[in-house]
């Protein structure tokens, strides 16, 4: 049973908030956000992801996608959130 502490919760919330905000700004229809959602099916394109990554760097102070030595790109929304949770820890 994982313990969702306040930090993890806020990272997840920050990520989801950016997904919603960027989708709205870019007039994209966002798929329902659950952890198994493949990013490619989220309704967002690479420009949207680029903006999300830049905004999260500003708000969370981390850019795990640039920092990762093992450049495996997250596949699902859950992967994506974990990238940021691990980096922000």
């Amino acid at each position: 049973m994982p313990f969702w502490g306040p930090i993890e919760m806020s990272v997840r919330a920050a990520v989801l908030q950016q997904f919603k905000q960027v989708a709205r700004e870019q007039s994209k229809r966002l798929a329902p956000l659950d952890d198994d959602l493949p990013l490619l099916d989220s309704g967002l394109d690479s420009l949207c992801f680029a903006i999300i990554v830049a905004r999260l760097e500003d708000t969370l102070g981390v850019d795990p996608l640039s920092a990762a030595e093992d450049i495996r790109f997250p596949v699902t929304l859950g992967d994506f959130v974990r990238f940021y949770e691990n980096a922000a820890r």
């Binding site: 700004e25 870019q26 690479s46 420009l47 992801f49 680029a50 903006i51 990554v53 830049a54 905004r55 500003d58 850019d63 996608l65 640039s66």
Partner: protein, 463 residues
């Protein structure tokens, strides 16, 4: 325009109008051009410099200006050394330009070790001297390109190529020119030569003056004509001292003049003609646009005449007698193509019957394979009434390689503005309304000021 090789800047100055009524004014001194008739700023050693390759490396623009008038057609070569050039380039300049004499007004370590024939202390005070100024040489004028990174390039001009766009007819009423540019740079040199060859007077800028101090000084001398980059002008309009001048003619060059800056200047100086010119150190002055609109009429392209222009691979190409002849000290690097056209590297786009400048070829930001010129985004941001100036730059991104972000300087908030208005959001909306998605800044940051280079242009860091 000076013709042939037996005409000097000095003799042309005298032919253009009464020298005693004309002045050059610097930060700390004003001199009458007529005083050069039996005087010199070269400590009486002008004749030593005959036939030399002379590096003019003074701090004072006024001293440099007077030395140039004295030495054209006397020296074999005049190297106009801008004071902001990094000392590390000194050895390259000395060797490539075969410098054998230096005119300077200060001790500079980078020149002290140099083996030269003459070192002349110049100063802005004209002292009695009786120099023979019979023209003997068609002097080469060496200018530095205004690039902000790497080693600067030296280009070779002659007085004839530099003066190609200048009419020699003296004006009907007294004209006092000024320029925000340093006259050792192409944009400033154009104004200096316009003054000397066109029978007028000049108020020089100074690195030691603030924008406000300079405008106050220009106002005291009742400047009628004044030039600068759009960045110079945006900064000037932020100063209350902008009211100290009441010019009849306002000129912009060196950067893209977008519609907002043209409109602001027109509104601020309703009695001035506002014109923007296209020129570069290599390609010379190409044209001036006087209709108050950004860009230029498409009819200029392909027109026969002194200045020929065409657009190839999206960039403006120029062939004219005003272009430089070659590079100095850059090996085999060619200035122009086989057909004599110089590629300016300035990208243009045709919209309707007008060409608009999009930006520099080497400044393009690549957002996931899509190209963005920072300048085209700035032009949109600058339309917002609260924006004074903006700089669009690249931000590295792991998904698209790069994203577009913007720094903006705002004007003071008007008293009657609605509370709670979010300027950043409004700017973004403005961008979204007219730009494709990849060109819309991912982030907008309000900053108190933007960095300038000594050239008067905004500092752009290319990715």
């Amino acid at each position: 325009m000076p013709q042939g090789d037996r005409l000097s800047l000095w003799s042309a100055a005298g032919a253009a109008g009464d020298l005693s009524a004309r002045f050059l004014s610097g930060h700390d001194a004003t001199v009458a051009l007529g005083d050069l008739a039996d005087g010199s700023v070269l400590s009486g050693r002008g004749r030593e410099l005959r036939g030399c390759s002379v590096l003019v490396a003074t701090r004072s623009q006024l001293t440099a200006a007077l030395a140039l008038v004295e030495l054209d057609s006397i020296a074999r070569r005049l190297i106009l050394y801008p004071p902001d050039l990094a000392a590390e380039h000194a050895a390259f300049v000395m060797a490539s330009a075969e410098v054998d004499a230096i005119v300077s007004d200060h001790a500079a370590p980078e020149w002290e070790s140099a083996a030269v024939r003459s070192r002349v202390i110049g100063n802005s005070k004209i002292e009695p001297a009786n120099d023979d100024r019979t023209p003997r040489h068609q002097t080469e004028w060496i200018l530095f390109t205004s690039g902000t990174t790497g080693r600067p390039r030296m280009v070779v001009h002659t007085l004839a190529s530099l003066a190609g766009a200048i009419a020699s007819a003296a004006p009907a009423s007294p004209v006092v020119w000024s320029t925000f540019y340093d006259i050792r740079r192409y944009g400033g040199l154009q104004i200096f030569l316009r003054v000397v060859l066109g029978g007028t007077s000049l108020v020089l800028s100074s690195a030691r003056d603030s924008t406000a101090d300079f405008l106050i000084r220009a106002g005291r001398h009742q400047v009628t004509h004044i030039s600068g980059t759009p960045s110079h002008w945006r900064r000037a309009l932020m100063s209350p001292a902008a009211r100290c001048i009441a010019p009849q003619y306002v000129r912009l060059s060196g950067e893209i003049a977008d519609q907002p800056i043209l409109d602001h200047l027109h509104a601020f100086y309703p009695h001035a003609r506002v014109a923007h010119a296209f020129a570069s150190t290599e390609a010379g002055v190409a044209f001036e646009v006087r209709d108050g609109s950004a860009g230029f009429p498409a009819s200029l392209i392909g027109q026969p005449g002194d200045v020929e222009m065409r657009v190839e691979d999206g960039s403006l190409r120029i062939r004219s007698p005003r272009t430089a002849t070659r590079y100095l000290g850059d090996g085999e690097r060619r200035l122009a193509g086989e057909d004599g056209f110089i590629d300016t590297g300035d990208m243009v786009e045709l919209r309707g019957d007008r060409y608009y400048f999009a930006g520099r070829r080497d400044g393009v930001i690549n957002v996931g394979g899509m190209k963005v010129h920072p300048e085209e985004v700035e032009a949109v941001i600058n339309r917002h009434p609260r924006v004074r100036m903006s700089l669009v730059r690249t931000r590295k991104n792991p998904v698209t390689g790069a994203l577009v972000v913007a720094d903006v300087v705002l004007r003071a908030e008007p008293e009657d503005s609605e509370p709670g208005r979010n300027v950043e959001t409004e700017i973004l909306q403005l961008c979204r309304d007219v730009l494709p998605r990849h060109k819309v800044p991912a982030a907008i940051r309000v900053v108190p000021e933007l960095a300038f280079a000594a050239t008067g242009k905004m500092v752009r860091c290319h990715a």
